[in-house]
Amino acid sequence: METQIQLACEEIAGKSDARIVRFKGDLDATNVDFVTEQITNYFGDGLVKIIADFKQLRYVNSTGLGVLLHFNKSAKEKGGCFKIVNLNENVYEIIEIIGAASLLDIYDELSEAIAALD
């Protein structure tokens, strides 16, 4: 079955160790391995500062939430960060309900997240 998620990676001017990764679709158990592999590869390539743009991410299940926490922890262990921007209201509320909002670096705007990379 076709994966329900697409990731697109973009460089950030003047930030050689950072990338914007745009998520499109649903993040769940059927594609979490694919997403983990992609993000882990970025970390392995020295791209330890990731801004995950969730503008087109409709849905995240419990497996996906666990993986986001894992990315956040792994990035920090490597001296980087995993920032999330443009969360939709439904996904944000689930993150809040489980008490993860304070654990994740969440920003309203992409420009704020980029500015916070410094």
Partner: protein, 154 residues
């Protein structure tokens, strides 16, 4: 179309995670057609996803021949979901019992791996969750989620 509550949707799923997105989206659409809010439907989608995922991953030891039965009963004021697997190992059943009994998010979030939070989130999003295990180690999970305005008023 005039809907008469309650009504039931029942499906038998192959033991394959790939089927879950179609099921959860279908339930979400049915709920919205039935007058439940988009937020209720979204949260119900997460519940359906988590308990089907759990049944397929831990409760279907028979490989390709295994099946999971999912029933969703939609009332005017609530939704009830029952997901029954085809029998898990004793270890997995004990883990399931422990997960249902444990207090809500009893562990720090950092202690949960990618696959450990499902039932915890179900507990946070629902009014009740019950687990039944029969003599053949077939487990069924029954979850009740009330419509927001009913839930807030009670």
């Amino acid at each position: 179309m005039e809907l008469t509550f309650p009504y039931t949707i029942s499906v038998r799923l192959p033991s394959d995670l790939e089927i879950i997105p179609s099921i959860r989206k279908f339930v979400s659409e049915v709920l919205q057609v039935s007058g439940f809010s988009a937020k209720f439907a979204f949260r119900s989608e997460i519940i359906v996803d988590a308990i089907c995922n759990n049944a397929i991953t831990y409760g279907s030891e028979g490989g390709a021949e295994s099946e999971v039965e999912a029933s969703c009963v939609i009332y005017e004021d609530r939704m009830e979901i029952v997901v029954k697997d085809s029998g898990g190992t004793l270890t997995n059943i004990e883990r399931l019992k422990d997960a249902v009994r444990r207090s809500r998010l009893g562990l720090p979030l950092s202690d949960y791996g990618p696959s450990g939070m499902g039932l915890e989130i179900v507990k946070l999003l629902s009014e009740t969750i019950e687990l039944n295990v029969d003599e053949n180690n077939v487990t069924s999970i029954h979850v009740v989620r009330k419509r927001e305005e009913v839930s807030q008023a009670s």
